[in-house]
């Protein structure tokens, strides 16, 4: 039975009372003015020392007794089918214990990109495994390839896929297969929409348009994909670098998979980054488990950096054509969008979210997926958003300039988010929006400002349980089997339990990343913290209740009047009874209290379902060398109630850093001749380093959204959405010429300057035309 409670929701000076229905055993969300000891206080990660001193054991670091090494042989060809694989020579080499071939394990004889898995070897040493790989003789049927969207879209381009697969397919609105009649209905509907929106745009006061492109960005986590697998009495134990421990297990135990373990434990105590690429066990996970089975000893199969760059995922690229009609009053009337992107050898998943965030009027949007012979894309930190925001925010500045409205005022005019309305002004103030700078290429070194917004949906949901255990001698532990991919989940889960039990951080042990513990979610959609912490708090609340009942029973007190605060038993409204937490625990008859609670149902009422967020960038551009230096990024962020400002701030910093890196440096470079990736390393795949990092000014808003008993929302993805867009707008502001392509390299800056200066000599430049 749900129960009704009164809560306050809102933020800053905007609060209102609200009645919400919550699950009957749930606990009331923390309220403004509640006396809290840990929640809302910056608390260092409990594993910070272990991580920075190198004592934290990642999957890569595991070395169970008898462990040997696995390695994967990859196709060097842009597009091929595997005709035959001869392993005779390889298996006779010293140290070789097991060899598997991809066609046999994966029922797949195609090798559709350079880097596709062909075979795997386990041997006593890494060098022996590598020598064996090189002794495997593979006969390929080499086919022509396309490795760029441009090439794959050309008339008469080589076919990337197999069978009837065409290179280009509409992915949104999705073309339904095998549903007779519906596709032509869809085509008609799209044609009507195109005409209608076209008219809306044409009838607007001003029309702006542009074609924008973004690059392929690999996830490039420091810890590569893979696992260390050990079979013990028929049970598979897998130390996996995973952002979905339970999803990983499901794939290895499923009746339809290649491994079909009867019993399996995934251990991911520490994970060196995932960014969306580690939801699946992947081919490397299957091969690791099967090599260990065949070899009869534990196998370490973690990808090398090249394998990681080639095969372990990336953010799809995009080509986005946008046309927007705007009236003089600043209201956007309509927008036409066509986009293309490559997810690798498939067609789905490469969409760009360029129609979110603002009200952009009537929308006519069609997206196409383009097959290329390249490593497959995966969800990448806010899938579709940074690339979409880049195009959209350039358009917003272009439109604002065209109608002569301040760029922030124009955004406000087309934005209804209650939190973001406040965040604009904070960002303006912190970046000094109205300062005077040498803009528009007015000097060799010029500067500019740019602003952009983000949006996310991350209040979390079901799919998690937490176990809280209080022992007779006063030890407290909380367990949930989900992983912490660097977000601080381990720390915040402990904080929530310590807060509920009136304890200090060091009195609560946390155990995570172990599928023998209660179910936890995948770390996706920025939902981990919003899913796990309400379960942890609820379990702690009920464990406390049980303890208070024991105390009340022994002391003849009324349990409903008791609470735990400051490591002592309190009488509500009166203060401490003088009984310590430890002496309360000592009153137990049993060895421990154990409470397992599932994540309570979400509150459907509340303040805001979404995170907002605004970022502003201040950049300096050297017109002599084309170098862009991001001086400062102001990141105003919100994520419901901020449980730990320190780890929240780190999330935002991480997003900004990866966003600047996307804006200026990172890109996959493909050789179109042989179809191979040329920068499958950290030398030529350039990522932001310490000297390239801007000053990052994080402002966090604390929002009581009433959505759960912890009211927290995730913050992994939102902070990367706006960064590249804001940086690009700032560069355009500094140079006086629009930047249409990411990353903004010195080459592109110098080329844009050359075109700008050439255009100055031709005064009759057509309005809106791309420079």
């Amino acid at each position: 039975m749900p129960k009704e409670i009164q809560i306050k929701v809102g933020f800053g000076d905007q609060f209102r009372d609200l009645t919400v229905r919550i699950q009957d055993d749930d606990v009331k969300p923390w309220q403004p003015g509640d006396r809290l000891n840990l929640i809302g206080q910056s608390t260092p990660r409990v594993d910070a020392v272990a991580k920075v001193t190198g004592t934290a054991n990642y999957s890569y670091d595991q070395k169970p007794k008898g462990m040997i090494y696995g390695k994967i042989l990859r196709s060097p060809h842009g597009n091929a089918d595997i005709v035959s694989i001869d392993i005779d020579k390889a298996k006779k080499l010293p140290g070789v214990r097991a060899i598997l071939t991809a066609p046999e394990i994966f029922e797949d004889e195609s090798a559709r990109y350079a880097g596709a898995e062909v075979a795997a070897v386990a041997a006593d040493t890494e060098m022996q495994a590598e020598a064996a790989l090189r002794a495997i003789e593979v006969e390929y049927d080499i086919k022509p390839h396309c490795v760029t969207v441009e090439d794959a879209r050309k008339e008469g381009a080589p076919q990337v896929g197999r069978g009837e697969q065409v290179n280009v397919a509409r992915i949104s609105p999705r073309q339904r297969r095998g549903r007779r009649g519906s596709n032509s209905d869809m085509d008609e509907r799209l044609a009507r929409q195109e005409a209608a929106v076209g008219k809306v745009i044409q009838d607007s006061d001003v029309v702006v348009e542009g074609e924008f492109s973004t690059q392929v960005q690999t996830h490039a986590p420091l810890e590569t994909h893979g696992s260390v697998c050990s079979w013990e009495d028929g049970r598979l134990i897998c130390w996996a670098s995973s952002q979905a421990t339970f999803g990983f297990r499901n794939e290895l135990t499923s009746n339809w998979g290649g491994v079909r373990a009867k019993s399996c434990q995934i251990l991911s105590e520490y994970v060196g980054g995932g960014f969306g690429s580690k939801f699946s066990a992947g081919r490397e996970g299957v091969l690791g488990a099967l090599l260990a089975k065949e070899a009869g000893v534990p196998v370490h199969l973690m990808l090398d950096r090249s394998g990681e760059q080639l095969s372990a995922g990336n953010r799809p690229d995009s080509l986005q054509q946008m046309k927007m009609g705007v009236n003089k009053d600043g209201v956007i009337q309509g927008t036409r969008i066509r986009s293309w992107g490559t997810p690798g050898t498939g067609t789905g998943g490469a969409g760009a979210h360029n129609d979110g965030i603002y009200n952009i009027g009537e929308v006519d949007k069609i997206e196409y997926g383009v097959r290329t012979n390249t490593g497959g894309a995966k969800a990448h930190r806010a899938p579709g958003w940074p690339q979409g925001a880049f195009a959209l925010e350039q358009m917003m500045d272009m439109a604002a300039d065209e109608i002569g409205m301040d760029r922030v005022e124009f955004r406000k005019k087309n934005d209804e988010h209650p939190i973001r309305k406040v965040e604009y002004d904070i960002a303006k103030d912190r970046i000094k929006w109205n300062r005077s700078l040498t803009r528009n290429g007015g000097a060799e070194i010029c500067q500019g400002l740019g602003i952009a917004s983000n949006l996310w949906f991350s209040a979390g949901g079901g799919g998690a349980s937490a176990l809280v255990r209080i022992t007779k001698d006063g030890q407290v532990e909380v367990r949930n089997g989900a992983q912490d991919i660097g977000t601080g989940t381990r720390t915040v889960m402990g904080m929530v339990v310590a807060e509920e039990l009136g304890l200090e951080m060091n009195q609560v042990a946390t155990r995570i990343g172990n599928t023998d513990d209660p179910q936890g979610p995948a770390s996706g959609g920025s939902t981990t913290i919003g899913t796990v912490t309400p379960a942890a708090r609820l379990a702690a609340f009920h464990a406390k209740k049980e303890l208070m009942e024991i105390v009340a029973d022994r002391k003849g007190w009324d349990a409903s009047e008791l609470d735990l605060k400051d490591q002592e038993v309190w009488r509500i409204g009166e203060g401490s009874t003088g009984m310590t937490f430890e002496s309360a625990c000592a009153l137990m008859d049993d060895d421990a209290i154990e409470v397992l609670k599932g994540r309570p149902r979400r509150n459907y009422e509340g303040f805001s379902d979404t995170n907002a967020g605004v970022q502003a960038a201040h950049v300096e551009v050297n017109q002599a060398t084309g170098a862009v230096k991001v001086l400062k990024v102001v990141a105003v962020a919100d994520a419901g109630k901020i449980l730990n400002p320190l780890t929240s701030e780190s999330q935002v910093r991480g997003g900004v850093i990866q966003g600047v890196s996307f804006a200026l440096f990172e890109r996959r470079i493909m050789d179109r001749q042989k179809g191979r990736m040329l920068n499958d390393d950290f030398e030529n795949y350039k990522m932001l380093g310490s000297m390239d990092c801007p000053e990052i000014d994080v402002v966090l808003l604390d929002v009581y959204n009433g959505k759960s008993n912890t009211q927290v929302m995730g913050l992994g993805e939102p902070p990367i959405v706006a960064t590249a867009a804001a940086v690009a707008n700032a560069v355009s502001d500094a140079l006086g010429v629009r930047m249409y392509d990411l990353p903004i390299t010195p080459k592109k800056v110098l080329e844009a300057i050359a075109k700008r200066d050439a255009a100055k000599e031709v005064p009759a430049q057509k309005k809106g035309e791309r420079l």
Binding site: Q165, I171, G348
Partner: protein, 79 residues
């Protein structure tokens, strides 16, 4: 522990189909999964190939991974 067909997969979709959304927000995952059918940023992979194409070489997708496809598991594969 061996898994039967994941409960949120619609009856007539191949049990080998996997996507990230299946691992999230299970409270309303059925609707979330339905959303993923039309999402422009969802990736689907096959448990057999661990790739974006099935054993028959064609795409893995909610519309395509249906009974009648050559690689759709036969009833006796379901143990």
């Amino acid at each position: 522990m061996a898994m039967q067909k994941p409960e949120l997969l619609p009856e007539d979709v191949c049990p080998c189909l996997r996507t990230k959304t299946m691992l999230l927000n299970t409270e309303y995952r059925r609707s979330a999964f339905e959303d993923a059918f039309t999402a422009d940023t969802a990736f689907f992979h096959c448990l057999k190939t661990m790739a974006y194409h099935g054993p028959d070489g064609d795409d893995v997708c909610p519309d395509g991974c249906r009974p009648g496809r050559a690689c759709y598991p036969q009833p006796d594969e379901v143990t």
